[in-house]
């Protein structure tokens, strides 16, 4: 790569990949593999060193874990058929003048670069970082979700981790987060985190579930048929004598330089504190559900909707298409529902992408394909054959080719609208594009995910846990009192609170405090507007100057992109 800006493209002389996938978890890998097996030129980027996302996070030398071996097989199959780019952070996705989508990434120069052996490419951008631009005709957003934290006094003490953070330490690095650990928050995700820590040798002092007291035996995970997995966690917790206590939560953490103890409260149904006790511990893992990562979709102007738990998510149709032509989304960004749903959605998206490639005139408009591109007819290749649309699993690669090739398999393709997923109102799904059985299975998993969200809501009483000096925004160190002052000055929504008091203005751009600030403002969280989705050095940015396709004045025209439906500063 000798260019200042590495510009990766599909080979074959064309200007762009058929599909660029952002996110290497279950949804992204399934979507990318489905498309790659059908012969499309696919690139997949992920910010981590290894594919897997949050669920299939694994160490460099993977151990044995449920479902992991299968995922790794799929990831290997993908690696043989597509450009897989780990350690690539996507900071912007934009529509280029020719209709292609430009995925702007930064990637480290690699472990070998050091101040003593200056990298020759370093002169292009900044030290240690290299810009990469991927061009694709189509994009699949599979960026997952992250833990939704709630602030409480002392939550910024070292030793307080998100539940996902504790999990990532363990699964990705083999590091047990602490010796005496308290797990708190709400939702079924607390169970595997606690079980994992206990099995790895931590003393887990309790799982404090803020929601209602169904008890582990009547846990909705069990009730809804996820028997094996949840029962396994239950057995594990019981074996390690980890108490699972409902209507309780950590409402404060104490310590000088790091956590030494927490206050655990008994809560009423609105999460107001009824009684407290102090538990000595060195580590706290907290999580109150998940925040779907949708900012790349928002950048492109994709329509959004509110999920059951109030999170803004990308609106998709039965074929996982967003409201923006050429852009698909799968997994948590379209609604939190776990890895099985994510993988299924990824496969559906992959098939839909394949179908769109093969029938550019059918169904949706296809701005990614230019009439003058010369390869336009390449899409009309014979279908690989009909397949069993009811395949429940990725089998052999050959099976997948066959499954992916079934784009025109007609039977049972009258699709039902899954509950809770509003279509974008942009016409119906092309007949046969999505097998009915997949749609039905997706609807079941979606219903399951929504039931969990209903069973584990965030109740407003947490706001009473805060003191005036409790930091709401960790980055800009904004305490509750400053948020309240801003409201008194006339900040009537989260955005104006941000403008006046700076919560969400710092490094994380409101990813951590955004939900809490919205609650404090009394409004639902707005779709995140982050035009720079990941930090990028000015050196890297400036290396792009003049290298981008199209002139600046071409881009002055607003016609190439949708306008985001929600505005921010």
């Amino acid at each position: 790569m000798t260019d200042d800006v590495a510009r990766r493209r599909g080979d074959g002389g064309d200007a762009a990949y058929d599909l660029v996938v952002v996110g290497g978890g279950p949804a992204g890998v399934a979507g990318a593999l489905t498309a790659a097996l059908a012969g499309l030129r696919v690139a997949l980027v992920d910010s981590s060193a290894r594919l897997g996302g949050q669920y299939f996070r694994h160490p460099a030398v993977p151990g044995r874990a449920s479902g992991l071996e299968r995922f790794l097989r799929l990831a290997r199959a993908l690696g043989e058929r597509a450009d897989v780019l780990p350690r690539h952070q996507v900071w912007s996705v934009s529509r280029e003048p020719d209709g292609a989508l430009a995925v702007h990434c930064v990637t480290p120069h690699g472990p070998s670069s050091s101040p003593h052996s200056p990298d020759s490419a370093a002169s292009a951008g900044a030290r240690g970082e290299r810009p990469v631009v991927l061009r694709g005709r189509r994009l699949l957003i599979a960026t997952g979700a992250y833990d939704r934290p709630l602030p409480f006094p002392g939550w910024d003490l070292p030793g307080v981790l998100t539940a996902g953070g504790a999990q990532a330490l363990l699964k990705g690095n083999g590091v047990v987060a602490g010796r005496r650990v308290v797990v708190s928050g709400t939702g079924p995700f607390l169970l595997p985190v606690a079980a994992g820590l206990a099995e790895a040798g931590a003393r887990v002092l309790g799982v404090f579930e803020a929601n209602r007291g169904l008890g582990l035996a009547r846990h909705p995970v069990l009730a809804l048929g996820r028997l094996g997995e949840a029962a396994g966690y239950a057995v594990s917790l019981a074996r390690h004598r980890v108490p699972y206590l409902t209507r309780q939560a950590v409402v404060a953490a104490h310590g000088e330089r790091e956590v030494e103890a927490v206050t655990v409260a008994r809560l009423d149904r609105e999460w107001n504190v009824l009684a407290t006790r102090v538990v000595e511990c060195d580590t706290v893992a907290v999580g109150y559900g998940f925040v779907p990562q949708i900012e790349l979709g928002v950048q492109l102007g994709c329509g959004t909707r509110y999920d059951v738990d109030g999170s803004p998510v990308l609106r998709v149709d039965d074929a996982q298409r967003t409201s923006v032509p050429g852009v698909w989304a799968a997994g948590e960004p379209t609604g939190v529902g776990g890895w099985r749903l994510a993988e299924l959605e990824g496969r559906i998206a992959g098939r839909s992408v394949v179908a769109a490639t093969r029938r550019p005139q059918a169904g949706c408009a296809d701005p990614g394909r230019r009439p003058e591109a010369g390869r336009a007819d390449a899409g009309f290749r014979p279908h690989a054959g009909r397949a069993d649309a009811d395949r429940t699993d990725f089998g052999s690669a050959a099976g997948l080719v066959s499954a992916a090739g079934s784009a025109s398999a007609g039977g049972g393709s009258r699709v039902a609208e899954p509950s809770g997923v509003a279509g974008p109102g942009r016409g119906e799904v092309a007949a046969g594009e999505v097998a009915g059985v997949w749609v039905r299975r997706r609807a079941r998993w979606q219903a399951f995910g929504e039931a969990l969200q209903r069973a584990y809501p965030v109740k407003p009483g947490w706001q009473g846990w805060l003191r005036d000096d409790t930091l709401v925004c960790r980055c800009e160190e904004v305490p509750l009192a400053r948020v309240r002052e801003a409201q008194e000055l006339g900040a009537t929504d989260a955005r104006s609170i941000k403008l006046l008091a700076r919560p969400g203005m710092g490094w994380c751009q409101g990813r951590v405090c955004g939900y809490a600030v919205s609650c404090l403002a009394g409004e639902p969280p707005q779709p995140p507007r982050r035009p720079i989705a990941q930090p990028v050095t000015l050196g890297t940015l400036s290396a792009l100057d003049g290298t981008l396709d199209g002139t600046l004045s071409d881009l002055d025209s607003p016609s190439h992109s949708g306008t985001p439906d929600m505005e921010d500063s």
Binding site: S92, L489, A491, I532, G539, D545, E567
Partner: protein
Amino acid sequence: MSDVIVVGAGVVGAACAYYAARAGLDVTVVDRGPVAGGTTGSGEGNVLVSDKEPGPELELAVLSNRLWRALAEHGGFEFEAKGGLVVAETPEVQRRLAGLAAKQGVEHAVVPAHALRDYEPHLADGLAGGVYYPQDAQVQPMLAAAALLKHGADRYGRGTLRLRLGAEVTGFTRSGERVTGVRTSRGDVLGGAVINAAGTWGGEVAALAGVCLPVLPRRGFILVTEPLREPLIRHKVYTAAYVTNVASDSAGLETSAVVEGTLAGTVLIGASRERVGFDRTTSVPVLARLAAQAVALFPALRDVRAIRSYCGFRPYCPDHLPVIGPDPRLPGLYHACGHEGAGIGLAPATGHLLAQVLTGVRPDLDLRPFRPDRFPLESQ
């Protein structure tokens, strides 16, 4: 019933409300959103005298600069008298900068090339010199607007200055030829006079009253860096091209390097100007250009990360002057909008002069250059 209704709770509306209340008038401020939710919330907080050609806008800027200093003494926001440094890439540009400074008649110092680093140690090599303007300053615009409204309400009697947020103006009430108030999404608000301080949306508000005001959006992007522990840049630093771009009529993209550190530790990087309507779609090429210009001016920024960007819409009029004063076409209607990129800086003088007009005092500055009916019909 108020004496004055101000449409717009941005910095200009806040200043109008403050000075009207100070002059003894009862004021109601109406805004469809929160305080400072429009262009005020998207600005850098410039209080500049350096970038104005000699003439009425410079006079407005000099008056405003003095007023801002006084207002900051009430507290609630900080007037950061950081000073501005305009740098020249070539000796020819430096000669022109020095010539402009002499004509402006404001406090300044011509800085030879060898002395530039006394002002800004991290400036690039090879610059031809610059001019330093000690009066150039910065305020946090949202806080400043909110503080003005709060001072106005606190100091001049409870009920003198009322805020009605979340109320969108949908029309005007009239009695005969005279404006008597505004219709809003939350009911009518009646008053003796209405000030249109709707910024970039001032033309739309004027249209609701049936008069034409050619205020249009001119988009600008700002890049914001990570917070730095040690300030890298002390002043507001910009290249000479900024001055010519401000006054340009081009519809296409124009950029010039404007770089400054803030109290929060971040560095703000502007400035781009495009006439693209109200399109908020981020333009990567524009961000890349802004970054390149900033790095060219301050090479040390190369390794600093941009963590966010935002855009705003400057309200511009065809002659790049604001509209300030009574509308002779519609008694009872006053305008205070169209300040383009200088609304923060020019807000106090705008409010002060309008308060003088409203109370029958001869204004400190001649308002004729800013009159609302000055535009030829074809531009309306």
